[in-house]
Each structure stands twice: as C-alpha cells, then as structure tokens.
Symmetry: C2
Subunit: 456 residues, 2 copies
Amino acid sequence: MQSTHEFIASQKDRFLAELLDLLRIPSISADPAYAGDVRKAAEWIAENLRNAGADHVRLEETPGYPIVYGEKMVDPAAPTVLVYGHYDVQPADPLELWDNPPFEPVIKDDVIYARGACDDKGQVFMHVKAFEAMCATGNLACNVKFMIEGEEEVGSDNLGNFVAANKELLKADVILISDTAIIANDIPSIDVGLRGLSYMEVEVQGPNRDLHSGVYGGAVANPINILCQMISSMHDEFNHITIPGFYDGVMEVSAADRAAMAQTPFDLEAYQKDLGIDTVYGEKGFTTLERASIRPTLDVNGIWGGYTGEGAKTVLPSKAFAKISMRLVPNQSSAEITRLFTDHFKSIAPKGVKVKVTAHHGGEGYLMPTDSIAFQAASDAMTTTFGKEPIPTRGGGSIPIVALFEKELGIKSILMGFGLDSDAIHSPNEHYGLFNFYKGIETIPHFFQNFADLSK
Amino acid sequence: MQSTHEFIASQKDRFLAELLDLLRIPSISADPAYAGDVRKAAEWIAENLRNAGADHVRLEETPGYPIVYGEKMVDPAAPTVLVYGHYDVQPADPLELWDNPPFEPVIKDDVIYARGACDDKGQVFMHVKAFEAMCATGNLACNVKFMIEGEEEVGSDNLGNFVAANKELLKADVILISDTAIIANDIPSIDVGLRGLSYMEVEVQGPNRDLHSGVYGGAVANPINILCQMISSMHDEFNHITIPGFYDGVMEVSAADRAAMAQTPFDLEAYQKDLGIDTVYGEKGFTTLERASIRPTLDVNGIWGGYTGEGAKTVLPSKAFAKISMRLVPNQSSAEITRLFTDHFKSIAPKGVKVKVTAHHGGEGYLMPTDSIAFQAASDAMTTTFGKEPIPTRGGGSIPIVALFEKELGIKSILMGFGLDSDAIHSPNEHYGLFNFYKGIETIPHFFQNFADLSK
C-alpha cells in the first residue's frame, strides 16, 4: 500500500481543510430551521465524492433529506464494499457550554472541536478520502458503493424505504461503517454489538390551564409531580426497569462471554474522573461495561413543564412533558418495547390527569459474528496500522439501520470506528483527534485490500 | 354615602380608562428585563394617588423596587386605615395561551382581560378611586395611609425592612388589603386565613457534561431520572408530604370548624368542569376546600433539563432543575420548613449526583379574628353593597407580608378582596369583572364609615 500511504501523507493538509469546510455546515436534522443546511451538506458530500473519483454520484431524494449515492465498479470479479455513514448531526445545544461555536471548527492540541467532528462527518469523510487515495494510486481492490444519509440522528425514517426499494443497486458483500469508537488510541477495538432504541415523548395534563398554586395547590393533580412519580416508578430499587415484559426478549450473555468482557481494559477511576462523578450508577448485578452494552436502559433525555424562567412563579401548570428513550439489546424488539412502554405509561397514570404518548423513532440491536472474513479483514487492517490486534467489544449506542440492512439486504455490517467514547459526541465541545482521523484514512485501504484477498 | 356613590357613578368610565392605562405597563417584578416598567408603574400609581387627593405622595426607594407611599390625615381623633397593595404582576408566560396580549387590556362581556387585572392592579386601584371619591365629596371618615409595593410577586424582600424602619410613619389602627377573592358575585366572603410559603429551587448534577445516552446510558446516574425519584419520594401514597418534621407545626383545625367549612357553598362538579378534570386529587382524609386552605402542600412549579426542543436527542444530561414551593398553614414556620426541605432534599440525594438547594422566598400564614371591629366594619360594608352577609373563609394563597405587619407593627389586616378564584390570576387570560371592580369601589367607603363609627 506504499503509494496509497504516500498519497495520503502528501494530501493530509488538504484532507483536513476539506473536513473543516464540511463541519462548518450546521446540518442539524432534528431542527427544521436547519433544513437548508442539511441539504447543503448532502450536496457538499456529493461534490467531494465526485471529485474523489466516484461514478454515478447523485442525491437520491426521499420525503425527508436526500441520500448521497455514488459508486466505483472496478472489477465484476472483485467483492463489493458498501460504505454507509451520515452527514447530519445532533443539535448543538446547550450552546453556552461550547468553548467555540459548534459550527466554527477549531483545532487545539491536534484535536478538531466541532459538532459532527466525530459523529459522523469526521468518520464518514475518512472513507471518502481513503477512496480518493485508492483511486488516485490505482489501488482500489474492491468495488465500492457509498450510501450517506442525512437522517441518522432522527431515526433514518426514510433510509429503510430507500434500501427496500433499491436492493439491486445496493448489492454488496459487506457494509463498512465508521460511526463507533475504539477503547483508546493505543487499544484498538471493533464493535461487534449495538443496542437497539425506542425513543418516546410523553405529555401529562392536569387542569386545562395554568393555575395559582395557592388557590388550587393541594387540591388538583399537579402534572409535574405526577410525571415525576410515573417516571420514578419505572425503575425499582435495583435499577431494574419495571415495565411488564420489558426484559422478556433480552438475550442473556453467557458467563463465559461476561468473563471475557471483564478482561477488556477499563479504568473505572479514570472513567469517573473524566465524568466528574464520585461513583457509577446502574442496574444491580452488572459491571459498568455490561450496563453500557449488554443491558437495556431507560433514560429521560429531556423534561419540561411549568415556570422555568428567572425568579419564582407560584404556578400549578397545566402540562408537563418528557422525552424518554430506552436502549435495547439484541433480540428485544423495538416495536414491542414501544408498545409495552405506551401501554404501561397509560396504565400507571392516576385519575385526575390525561396522558399522551408518542413514539419518535426506534431500531433493533445487532450482533456481528467475529468469524467472518469481513471481521478478519478489519482486524488485520487495524493490526497493521495500530501495531496491535483490535479487541472485539459491544457498544452501547444504536445504529438502527444496521439490523435493517441485514434484514432487507442480507448483508452484514462491519463497525470499524475510530472515535473515542471521550469525544463528547452529542455533547458540547464534541471533538475528534487528528490521530484518529488520519489513522482511519490509513486503515481503510488495508481493509479493502485484505477483504479482496480473503475473498479470493 | 349618597354623594360618594353618585360621584363614583359619574366617574365610572374615567376610573376604568385609568385602570386600563395602568394595566398597559408590564410591571413584571420577577424578570429583570422589565425593571424599567416596574418603576414606571410605581410612578404612575404615585401620580394617580396625588391627583386623587393624597398628601406627601412619594416613592420610598429600596434596594429593589420602590414603595409608593401617600397619606391623608383628616382628623387626629379619627382612626387610621393603612391600605396595602402591590403594583407588580406575575410573568405572563405561556404567552401563546393568551387570547389577547397580556398587556393590551381587552374588555369582553363586561370583563377586563389583562395580566394584573385582578392581581393586584385592579384591586389596589379600587382603593385609590374610592379614596378619590371620599375626598372629592368630603366623606373621608378615617385617616388613610397608602403603602403600595412592587415586589409582592417575588417575596416582598424589601418591604420588611421598610416596615421595620418606618413604624411611626405606618402607625395605623388596621391594614386594609384587597388581594383576595369572594366565593361568587352573589356569595360575598372575607378571607380570614392565608397560607404561608416556602419557595425553593433545586439543581441535580450527574456527569460534568451532557453525554451520549447510548455510550453512557445505564452506567451513569441520569440527573433527570434522579430528580424525578427525589420529587416523587416527597409524597407518600396518601399524598402526605414525607419531609421529616414537615407537619410538626401544623395547627390542626377543630372538628367544629371543619364542619362549619363544610357548610361553605361549593359545587365540586362545577369546580371540576371549570378545570377540565375528571376528579380532584390531594391529601387523603380532607375535602377539596380543606386541601386548598387549612392543609400544607408541596407543588413543583417548574422543571427542566436535557433536550426539550423538537424531535429527538439521545442525550444523558449533566443537570436537571426544579422550582418547588410549599404552601404552609398558620403556625408552620417558613424558615423552619425551608431548613427541613433543604436538609431532607440533600439527605435523599443518591451517590453519583450532586445537589444544590436555594431558597427563593417565603412567608408565614395568617389567621384573622372575626370578632374585631375591623372585621365587623368590612362585613357590614359588604352586607350593604352585596345585600348579603359575607362568609368568613380561609384562602389557600399567601400574602406573607400580612404576618410580618402584625409582627412588626402589631396591626391586624383585613382581607377584603373582590376577585374570584376563576379570575385566572397567575394564568393566561387573567381577568377581572367590571362588576367586581365597581363593587369594590362602592364597598370601600362603607368600610371607612363603619370603621370610624365603630371606633367611637
């Protein structure tokens, strides 16, 4: 891969400059106010992909944001790699906690600070640049197809239909995704598991209008008090989730696998120090690594109601709201959990309030076999560039589309990510190391070569 | 009182027009953005009081908003009435629920809609106009002192010092306040009890930054989940408040008094219909009227944390907040309850979170004896103008300054209010009936005459 390596080395500064351009586009898919910017990011990616050497590059329109498609078919006999990623990003608030504006990237101590730096613009762009390097040096050993969407952060609502409707177009031997993390820059790892997701929004209404808490307080159901009681009741004293049937589908992990997980390098003290907490907190009977990967969760992602301004207002509000999401493990059905949550939440509402429950988005968990040639190709590629064999790990995040790819296309995905859990994705001051960005660009061509060789 | 009555009748339209001018000033004391308007309201009141015939009208400066003072001493031998009220108003949000802008008063079906229409601009202004009528017709039978503050909605923080420092200036035989409600326009009543208040704000912090709920969910304390648990734990299954010692000071009401309360006209069905609820909700073993008057409460007035925007964000937030207020009954000490709440809230915080508790404002409850000549004067005045003897009732609201007046000045207060519980004070579309506004102006001179006569 010498020449590819040299090409990358010679273009490092341009690759970075281009990424910073992409990061300047506030492509927040959750907020309609940024619709124009989301589309702009799609067009930017398409243009860059075209310049990198891809053919048939186009925006595949959907009822939501477009999917960027492009391909390079070098040899009918060669295997085909479908690269998936997303160009949309999470909302940036709370803005006041950012050290620099989230869409004005800053590089400090070899780290890029910007919303999307790691999730996923920085990582998907590594593929575009690695692809450019392989094309430019005639080292592209596999056929490549790119499918880069703009709705990953809001549930990939339209990607499913696109995939189902374009099975022929998307035919491939493996799907390669960089949207996950390694344990540390000197401890490479590959995610072989993902959690599923059910994301709900609830509304509790008491009286039909805001009331004076002196005149009515104590005599009328306060929707905030009630919402707190309902949320509180969904965990027991062992931090088990109390929704009936919630654990029915959970695939229990064998003692052997748990023992293996326990061998994963993990520094609890450093973990707590990084988060500024004096202790971890979670389901009884499981370690922190297990709680964050092989166990389902229920977290309130947002709550609001009543007077939240300065000073004091003695109001008994009419309504209270919460966004509540559950991370699911392989074999839990998101649709089923969404149904169980909805039924349970309505069932525990006391008289005196009305509740509304709506589902935002969801998706299934995923487990990747480690005995595939795709996993071997990824493992060997990282071993080459990191000088260390990567550890198979199970991540806590969700890429719902991965399970859907397997269901619709019958193709397995490889999660060869280069981020770090400490990259603060979804948080203020999201960042991505230059080390990781360049290491990814360098590793991807090895994957292609290995996968082509192993496929022979 | 004929000529006073005639004068009022002849000036009705002007009185109303002046009130609407006052209501156009957004004197929201809780929000520093309106500081200029709050002061403007003070100056407006002072000017109007001066024109009404008061002497020595001035703004008494405080570290916060000024207190409007004015007086009319007609006869050293006559008793002196100190009129107290406030020119500040509650915040108007949620604005989208108002049918007309809160500070652009509208009159519909003989009802004035505006923030402050009833609480308390409309009611305090009745006194200014009744005073004007008595002066203009030479029927002022008592000396009068006005003390109209601008910080009632935020705890009257500076009025206490002003009162303590001006005992001679404020010397009076009774304090007359119109900041409460009657049962109905055809069922006059006089508040003989008020609840106290402790208003707290709490902050729960988990991790030092917002986190990805997939990467950390289930392994790190979620401050919203925890806050909900802590709030939920402060009521038991009977809706008793669980803060240790919370009920120690509570003055239990005798069975006889409770039986008397049960005779107060109250239509539960109409009450529920007005609020759009299918059932009332509160402390076991007490009626709705009791829950809203003779029993203490704990209500969350506001809660916020995490992502509250459109769509879905899978964030595990760093912090969650709530504003929590407790209504207290006579003999419960606000300072003691504030201490008990603070200690308890900190004590129930689980490991893994940090909590902050701050007190906004508070005040003591109050009980007015019904055997005083002041009460008699008020009761007779309402009997004259309503044609019905008013019923003594205990209100659920708080006017903390009333207990302070008695403590500092040794003067009892008469709560002769003319609003209705359904006036939506502190709510969108606050309103005040023209019937109530004019009935108040008509009744007040009778109180003055009765009080002078009974004092002889």
